[in-house]
Structures are given as structure tokens and as C-alpha cells.
């Protein structure tokens, strides 16, 4: 019994200290972000790798998510003779929840995992030690620009996801299933308010922070062994998915 309690205590302390280290890492990344020299070129580089390189997967997943919503929404609403509400149902679902969450999942899978693998590989091959030895702070050089780029890219990708999703549902609902184009957009116009848009974008900014923070941290703390990079990558993706869903619930409950 005592050994069980000791194990629970030890595990709890380990988890708490791990969380503490993660938060200190984030604070350090923010502190370094505001210290000169400004790494504009690096930020632009990471905007390209997070934003531009994720664009195709976000577009593809956005359009198919919209198409599925168009199909499902239409058959659900038809039971209540409310097909004309398809546009507002799709728009509200995408803007508030599915847009930010699914685009964050796509970016985690496409870029976050690569981020953890790249930094993890740099850790294992002593490239991070090399930066320290050249008096270059690796958090300022590797982490802060990625976090800033994540904060910039995620709302933009989410906005793109929302738009292509709405048009994906339009193609199915209006083009295939015969909902009138006017009622599709009129329903959307009457039900969507600005708060729906900015709450989704606010979520996406916080998801951008979660993805870059978690993936950089996991890469940075990758165990220095052959399996370390793989382990860091897997852990970063799983933790990002969980944190995105948990944080999404809290943000939704506050902003509703």
C-alpha cells in the first residue's frame, strides 16, 4: 500500500516538474523573442514552412470537411424540413469549431511533427550544443521564430480552411442536392455574427502557440539516443492533439 502511494506521489511530482519545465521553456522563448537581434529572416522562413507548406493539406482537408458537412447537414436538416439552414449550420460549425481544430490537427501532423523531428535530430547530433558553444542561444535561434511564425500562420490557415469548407459544402448542398444558393448564403448571413469569426480565430492563435511550443519542447528534450527523435515526434503529435481538444473545450466554455 505504501509503495503504491509512493509510486503515485513520485509520478505526480514527475508530471508536475515536467509541466513546470515546459512552462519555463515557453517563458524563455517569449523572453528571447523580444531580445535583439530580431530574427526577421528566420520568422519569414518558418512562416513559409508552417504556413505555405501546410496550405495544400489544409485546402484539401477543408474542402472535404465542408463536403461531408454539406452531405450530413442536408440529410439531418431534411428530417425537419430545414434544408435552407444548411449554410448557417455549416458556417457556424466551421467557424467556431471544426475550422480551428481540424486545421490545427493538419498543421500538427504536417509541420509540428517535422519541427519536433528536426530539433530532436539537432539535439541528438549535438547541433544544439554547437549553437551554445558559438554563444548563440538555441531558444532564440530555433524556438522563438517558430512560435512567432505559428502565431501568424494558424489564424490565416484557419480562415482559408473555413472559406474552402463553406464552398465545399456549397458544392454538395447547392450543386448536388438542390438547396437554393440564396437561402444557403442568406441563412449564413443572418445567423453568423462577428463573435463566431473572432472566437474561431482566437482559438486558432492559441492552437498555433500550443503546436509550436509543444513540438519545439519535445524536440529540445529528445532523449540522446537513436530512438529519441521518433519518441519526441510521436509524443509531440499526441500531446498536441490532446492539448488542442482540451484547450478547445475551455475556450468554448468561456466564449459561448
Amino acid at each position: 500500500m505504501l509503495s503504491l502511494l509512493a509510486w503515485i506521489g513520485r509520478s505526480t511530482l514527475q508530471q508536475l516538474s515536467g509541466m513546470g519545465r515546459m512552462f519555463l521553456f515557453l517563458i524563455s522563448a517569449f523572453a528571447w523573442a523580444f531580445r535583439p537581434p530580431a530574427r526577421i529572416r528566420l520568422i519569414v522562413h518558418h512562416v513559409r514552412s508552417i504556413g505555405v507548406d501546410s496550405l495544400s493539406v489544409v485546402l484539401l482537408s477543408g474542402v472535404f470537411t465542408g463536403m461531408v458537412m454539406g452531405l450530413q447537414g442536408y440529410y439531418s436538416l431534411r428530417k425537419f424540413n430545414a434544408e435552407s439552414f444548411l449554410g448557417s449550420a455549416v458556417a457556424l460549425g466551421l467557424l467556431r469549431e471544426l475550422g480551428p481544430v481540424l486545421s490545427a490537427f493538419m498543421v500538427t501532423g504536417r509541420t509540428g511533427s517535422a519541427m519536433a523531428a528536426e530539433i530532436g535530430s539537432m539535439k541528438v547530433t549535438e547541433q544544439i550544443d554547437a549553437l551554445y558553444s558559438m554563444a548563440i542561444n538555441p531558444i532564440q535561434y530555433l524556438v522563438s521564430p517558430r512560435i512567432i511564425a505559428g502565431l501568424i500562420c494558424m489564424p490565416l490557415l484557419t480562415a482559408i480552411f473555413d472559406v474552402v469548407g463553406i464552398y465545399g459544402a456549397y458544392v454538395i448542398g447547392v450543386g448536388l442536392l438542390g438547396v437554393s444558393s440564396g437561402s444557403y448564403f442568406a441563412g449564413m448571413e443572418s445567423s453568423v455574427v462577428f463573435q463566431d469569426v473572432w472566437s474561431g480565430l482566437l482559438k486558432s492563435i492559441s492552437f498555433g502557440l500550443i503546436i509550436t511550443w509543444v513540438c519545439c519542447y519535445k524536440g529540445f528534450t529528445a532523449p540522446p539516443m537513436a530512438t529519441g527523435v521518433g519518441q519526441a515526434t510521436t509524443e509531440s503529435v499526441v500531446l498536441c492533439f490532446v492539448l488542442i481538444l482540451v484547450w478547445d473545450y475551455f475556450m468554448t466554455s468561456v466564449m459561448l
Binding site: T125, D129, Y132, A135, I136, N137
Partner: protein, 248 residues
């Protein structure tokens, strides 16, 4: 002068360094030898505070670097060049950019001056015309030479070499040793080499220290070291499985 005083380092339950005392003379090359896993690299990484000790101090020109803040530590680190075991070139950059990197980040040199200095170093290590390649596109020996060019590009006072010939064939290993000797003659840095490549490494060493069981067992000039009667040193030099050093 680098002075290591009563250095202790433990990882988990394993004590790696158990009270290291060592003085490294300015302008000389000191080689630290010892068995695999004896803590040579751990000791080397304490010299420029890549690792911090549990106890003890590392004095560089009388200043204890284990107690310094980030800013002061960075000033001290700029005195160092480091050649890592796997060269640790930044693999997102070409070899030329790797060599130019410290100059771009830490000096106010113009791009022309940087180019001149970086190409000079690449020429000195025999990599003229190879700067456009990425680290993944060159051999292990070329990576080490590029790492050496990067380590020397800021004209450091102290250069640390972590097993510079590991993973190379004997001929390539010898060429790296010769290159280190040549660069030392040119730049006159204080060198610290971690190696178990004996006796080849002795040709370029002024002094040798042996690390075993977490302490410095023996230190002296290369000649004194080779003549040592310390049974631990004799066993290591002769490669005997039997003796005071536990092999397995």
C-alpha cells in the same frame, strides 16, 4: 590558463566525475585519454559550460565559469572553438554557411570579409571549392575538416576537440591529427583533445592526462606519460584486459 578544481558530476545514480583536478597550460595541446564511458566528453563539456557540475569549478583566466550568467558566459564562450565528435554541422546549411555562421552572428564583419575568412579556413583544411555542398553530401572526414574550419573561424584562444578521429579510417585519422597539429602551429591556440586514439594522438600532444574511475589518474608531458609506472596507465597503454582498470 584553464583550471579544473574538484569537479563532480553525477547522472542519475552514476557518478561520472568524482573530483577532477586538472590544469591546462596556455598555448599547449593537452590530450585527455581514458576508456569508453570514462567521462572524457563529460569533462570536455564542462570546460565551456555546456554541462554544469554538481560541485567544483572551472576557471578560465581565473574566472569561475560555472557561476556566470548568460551574458558573461557567452563572452567566455567566444574564446572557444569546438570540434564535436560528429562535427555537429548545422545540416540545414551548406558547409560554407556553416563556417561563415559564427562570423555572421557574432561579428560586424562585412559579407566580403566573411567570405574571405571563411574561404581561407576552408582552404586551410583542404575543402576549397566544397563550400556549396551540404553536410549530408560529404564524407565523415570532410565533415570533421569542415567542423575544424568552423571551430577555428573566430580565431579562438581555446579549441576543444571531442574524439576528432572517431569513425575515420587510420589514414584519415592521421590526416586529421596532422591538420590539428598544423592549425595549432599556425594559430597557437590552447588545445584540449579527448581521444582514445593512442599512440597516434601523442604526436601532436604536449601533455597527456588520463581519466579513469572519475578522477585524473596521471598527468604529465607526453614523454613523462609514456614512461609512467602507474599500473592504470600501463594497462591502458598496453591494452591489457587484466589489471586495475575494470574492462567489463
Amino acid at each position: 590558463m584553464i583550471k579544473v578544481v574538484n569537479l563532480h558530476k553525477t547522472f542519475g545514480n552514476q557518478g561520472v566525475l568524482k573530483g577532477i583536478h586538472l590544469e591546462l597550460e596556455t598555448g599547449k595541446i593537452t590530450t585527455i585519454i581514458g576508456g569508453s564511458g570514462s567521462g572524457k566528453t563529460v569533462l570536455l563539456k564542462h570546460l565551456n559550460a555546456l554541462l554544469l557540475p554538481d560541485r567544483g569549478s572551472v576557471l578560465i583566466d581565473g574566472k569561475d565559469i560555472t557561476k556566470l550568467g548568460e551574458r558573461e558566459l557567452n563572452e567566455v564562450r567566444q574564446k572557444f572553438g569546438v570540434l564535436f565528435q560528429g562535427a555537429a554541422l548545422l545540416d540545414s546549411m551548406t558547409i560554407y554557411d556553416n563556417v561563415a555562421f559564427p562570423l555572421r552572428k557574432k561579428t560586424k564583419m562585412t559579407e566580403n570579409e566573411i567570405q574571405e575568412r571563411a574561404e581561407e579556413r576552408l582552404e586551410q583544411v583542404g575543402l576549397t571549392g566544397m563550400g556549396y555542398k551540404y553536410p549530408a553530401e560529404v564524407s565523415g572526414g570532410m565533415k570533421k575538416r569542415a567542423g575544424l574550419a568552423r571551430a577555428l573561424v573566430m580565431q579562438p584562444e581555446i579549441v576543444l576537440f571531442d574524439e576528432p578521429t572517431t569513425g575515420l579510417d587510420p589514414l584519415l585519422g592521421k590526416s586529421i591529427h596532422n591538420l590539428i597539429g598544423k592549425m595549432h602551429a599556425t594559430f597557437g591556440f590552447t588545445g584540449v583533445i579527448v581521444s582514445h586514439d593512442i599512440p597516434e594522438v601523442f604526436q601532436i600532444s604536449d601533455r597527456v592526462a588520463m581519466l579513469a574511475n572519475g578522477i585524473i589518474e596521471e598527468v604529465g608531458t607526453t614523454k613523462e606519460f609514456l614512461a609512467s609506472k602507474n599500473p592504470v596507465v600501463r594497462q591502458f597503454l598496453q591494452g591489457d584486459a587484466e589489471g586495475p582498470l575494470a574492462v567489463l
